[in-house]
């Protein structure tokens, strides 16, 4: 149930129950007089209106953010003032109907008694409202903390550049230095760019796909030096898609996965195809690689992919998704759909 629905339901039930019982006793004492019927009906309505006004004030001034003795005193003072106002209305309405024959005027002690009762009533309302609100806020805070923690864990996971890749890469470059100094220089530059992107990546936010694709191009160029002719790479990124926002490292994780579980497992190597297309309200990323999902790897732990799924869920809820499947008999495709958001 939505918060506001619940609030109005509780308001109606609370004031309704009190009014009904008080009305029952009044009718028993003096019979179903018009002043009694109208008085109680109006009491029900303006009590809800007045306490709702009080709720708006509490929210506007953030009185419940930090509950001190001062706040408690202030709230109960307001409760008592409201009670005085409500009592005034009760007496006024009674006077309008029966004039000086009103019980409140013939027996002024009844005014005090009414005031006392309603003050307690308003006090109870304030106490309940504060308790419910604070409990809800506590829960929200816990949920937020949990989410933040999860996000931090994911960040730590993603920020890790695969050490196996790192050292193999350095080793290859060492080999290149004598064999092809120009290529070695180029690889060092790409290596630096990739490291910078990985270290600097602000994982909490999204980045334009073009920036992510650039890092992936560096990564794959380095892997191509390692894999030699065993790795072929193709990029098909629509210009419009390049401007769209993606969570950083998403494409890189997909490509790493394609390499690690696909092409890397094949002694003869294969191809990785990276596609991105902009659809009317979503961005579709597709990473294909040579290979097939075997029974084991299809069902086995997919740490990288589960990580992506989790991040997509945190950022986009159910509006994004990842699908991994065999295509064409000799290729595996990982497809991610992300709600469209373009760089401002």
């Amino acid at each position: 149930m939505k918060m506001t629905t619940k609030y109005w339901l509780l308001q109606a039930l609370g004031w309704g129950a009190y009014t009904a019982v008080a009305f029952f006793f009044a009718v028993r004492a003096v019979g179903p007089r018009p002043d009694v019927i109208v008085g109680f009906a109006l009491f029900f309505l303006y009590s809800i209106a007045l306490t709702d006004l009080l709720r708006r004030e509490i929210k506007r001034h953030h009185w419940l953010d930090e509950v001190s003795l001062g706040v408690v005193a202030k709230l109960f003072g307001i409760g008592a003032a409201l009670a005085a106002f409500q009592t005034g209305l009760i007496v006024g309405i009674s006077f309008l109907f029966v004039g000086y024959r009103s019980e409140y005027l013939t027996d002024p002690a009844m005014i005090l008694e009414t005031l006392w009762g309603i003050t307690w009533l308003n006090g109870t309302w304030i106490g309940l409202y504060a308790a419910i609100t604070r409990r809800r806020r506590q829960r929200e805070k816990e949920t937020r903390l949990e989410l933040a923690l999860r996000e931090a864990e994911l960040r730590a996971l993603e920020a890790q550049i695969n050490p196996h890749f790192l050292f193999n890469c350095l080793n290859s470059i060492r080999g290149l230095v004598t064999e092809d100094p120009k290529l070695a220089q180029d690889m060092i530059t790409r290596f630096a760019a990739l490291l910078r992107y990985n270290l600097h990546g602000d994982v909490g936010h999204t980045v334009p796909l073009s920036a992510e694709a650039e890092a992936v191009a560096d990564y794959l160029a380095l892997e191509q030096v390692r894999f030699d002719e065993r790795l072929r790479v193709r990029f098909e990124i629509e210009p419009r898609a390049g401007a769209m926002q993606v969570p950083p490292m998403i494409l890189q994780t997909l490509v790493e996965n394609a390499l690690k579980h696909g092409v890397g497992k094949l002694p003869e190597g294969g191809e990785i195809l990276i596609q991105a297309s902009a659809e009317p309200d979503e961005l579709v990323l597709n990473v294909e690689n040579t290979g097939q999902l075997a029974g084991a790897s299809a069902a086995g732990p997919q740490i990288g992919l589960n990580n992506i799924r989790e991040r997509l869920r945190l950022i986009y809820g159910s509006r994004a998704g990842l699908l991994l499947k065999n295509t064409d008999g000799d290729r595996v495709a990982a497809t991610v759909r992300i709600p469209a958001a373009v760089v401002a």
């Binding site: 080793n171 290149l176 002694p267």
Partner: protein, 233 residues
């Protein structure tokens, strides 16, 4: 010494070859791009030394060792101190980290012994075996093995405090063992003569050999006579 370089990355092989140029005692007999190729080359060339990458497409370096009947000296070349290497009981000098530091390579090479030349024995002699038991693995030198027991098509290898299974039959193993070191105790066991602490006569007339460490093995009747001869009892 003849060495085989096994690495899926061409540049890694190039780099290692370049580093090995400083060590003229090492002759590079061949290069393999994956474990499949390496298996073939190792059988053809029977090298003294393997430079073995662990992570390769298809078979890993460990898979390769498991398939090789005869394990030469091995220096693992690895990019990262992988958990696989931690599960493996290798001495720090049995592996080098990539990129390889020349001094580190020299230190590892200094420990490598050339394969014993056994010209008087025509059949190939095992010097060490590769053993894998679940997550753990070892390269065990034969003198450390005190007992081999048959378990179906497998053999249980006893060394130090370990007793893992190896995927070879006792008969296949026996053909490659040095008869001066290993003795067939019966249908189900081979023991290392150097590990015998004491022998006792059993009531049946056969011999019970007690090995260092306390394990005793009953010798079959037929083999008892031979053992007596060997130990000149």
């Amino acid at each position: 010494m003849r060495a085989l370089i096994i690495d899926d990355e061409r540049l890694a092989r190039v780099e290692l070859r370049r580093l090995l140029a400083q060590h003229p005692e090492i002759e590079i007999a061949g290069e393999a791009r994956n474990a499949e190729e390496a298996l073939k080359l190792a059988r053809e060339l029977s090298p003294d030394l393997l430079f073995l990458d662990i992570q390769m497409p298809g078979m890993t370096g460990f898979d390769l060792l498991e398939r090789l009947e005869d394990i030469p000296q091995v220096i693992f070349t690895t990019a990262y101190d992988e958990y696989a290497l931690k599960a493996f009981e290798v001495n720090a000098l049995d592996y080098v980290m990539k990129p390889i530091a020349p001094e580190r390579l020299a230190a590892a090479l200094a420990r490598v012994r050339p394969r014993a030349t056994l010209t008087d024995h025509p059949a190939p002699r095992l010097e060490q075996v590769f053993v894998r038991d679940g997550e753990r693995c070892w390269i065990v030198r034969l003198p450390d093995i005190y007992l081999l027991e048959s378990e179906g098509n497998y053999a249980r290898v006893y060394f130090r405090n370990e007793r893992p299974l190896i995927r070879r039959s006792l008969n296949a193993l026996e053909a490659q063992l040095d008869p001066a070191m290993f003795f067939r105790a019966g249908r189900n066991a081979i023991l290392n003569l150097k590990w015998i602490e004491r022998v006792d006569l059993a009531a049946s007339g056969s011999i019970v050999a007690t090995l260092l460490g306390g394990r005793s093995v009953e010798i079959s009747r037929r083999q008892s006579a031979r053992l007596r001869e060997l130990l000149s009892l």
